[in-house]
Symmetry: C2
Subunit: 162 residues, 2 copies
DNA sequence: TGAATATAGATTACATGTAAACTATATTCA
DNA sequence: TGAATATAGTTTACATGTAATCTATATTCA
């Protein structure tokens, strides 16, 4: 039997329909597992993956940002960002302020509390990332990054087909 | 500037903290984009990604399956499976039946309607998978599968740390 | 045998992700 | 200028994913 690892994990009896299907399932499953594992770490600090992502984007930018600009950097749909920021605001990790020049725009700002929290997560976060994927060699990491980037290139092309 | 593609996509100013962080973000983002695109196809047939996944598992197995067995093959947590099957039942794509021997177990069975629906999705589904990742060579697909499988191997190891 | 434990699944509570429709404000251009 | 259009964000409705807790049924083993 030439059953591969993914097939075993999914307890799949038949072979995959095609190598393409197999590769995509592989990407989905790996992403899912990483997200679950990272999510568990963030939860220890009272955050979800998405919430952490918002905080990181704000810190990376270094300045207040409009809600939609944040959403844009998160592969996330607009309506979701509202509730996400609501909850961060309730935790006092961000503040919201309406723009004076363009009153449609809402600026979101990181609080000191959030900066401290991010600093606290930094070390265990880096360590977990290393544990998760540090057993790949430099060369393998580089090749993985190249292949994934190449893979994503086609996604936008299929969008216009719709 | 040695800014790479992922950095550009995320409009990230600073470099990634480490190659490990970059690779993991790359996996997460690619998985997310694939899932979004596939989800849009399934929605044309009234299904979500997870619902499609359940139907595929049932068809692959060929026999009625206990709820938890389905959940186990889906990276999904138990409580979610109940509502998922509820909705499939409402759409008349599966039926539920309690096991006589062990009355705790609920067997889920695919309906004829579901089999027809899966057949209908098959061709456009395969085509989309090819569009999404078919521009990678055979060799690249194989290497991608190898690297992802290797990457996942560490996830379980980090679980026991918790 | 019968109490302790394990297993299958459901329920509840909450955060997230998606779509569609809506409000408020800006911009464009005839 | 003022109607048409675009933009930023919210609201609503629903499917999903996670954790904690609960019920019903089986199993184990003193």
């Amino acid at each position: 039997m030439t059953m591969n690892q993914l097939q075993r994990e999914l307890k799949k009896k038949q072979a995959f329909q095609s190598s393409e299907v197999e590769a995509i399932l592989n990407v989905l499953r790996t992403g899912d597992q990483f997200q679950n594992r990272l999510g568990r770490l963030f939860r220890e600090y009272g955050l979800t993956c998405s919430q952490y992502n918002v905080l990181r984007i704000l810190r990376g930018e270094g300045n207040p940002m409009p809600s939609l600009e944040i959403a844009d950097r998160m592969v996330q749909v607009v309506p979701a960002i509202t509730g996400l920021i609501d909850r961060l605001e309730k935790q006092e990790l961000v503040t919201r302020e309406r723009c004076h020049k363009d009153r449609r725009v809402v600026y979101v700002t990181l609080t000191e509390k959030a900066v401290r929290l991010l600093k606290e997560i930094e070390k265990p976060g880096l360590e977990l990332h290393e544990q998760l994927i540090g057993h790949l060699t430099r060369k393998e990491l580089k090749e993985l990054n190249r292949l994934l980037t190449k893979a994503r290139a086609a996604v936008r092309a299929t969008e216009s087909d719709v």
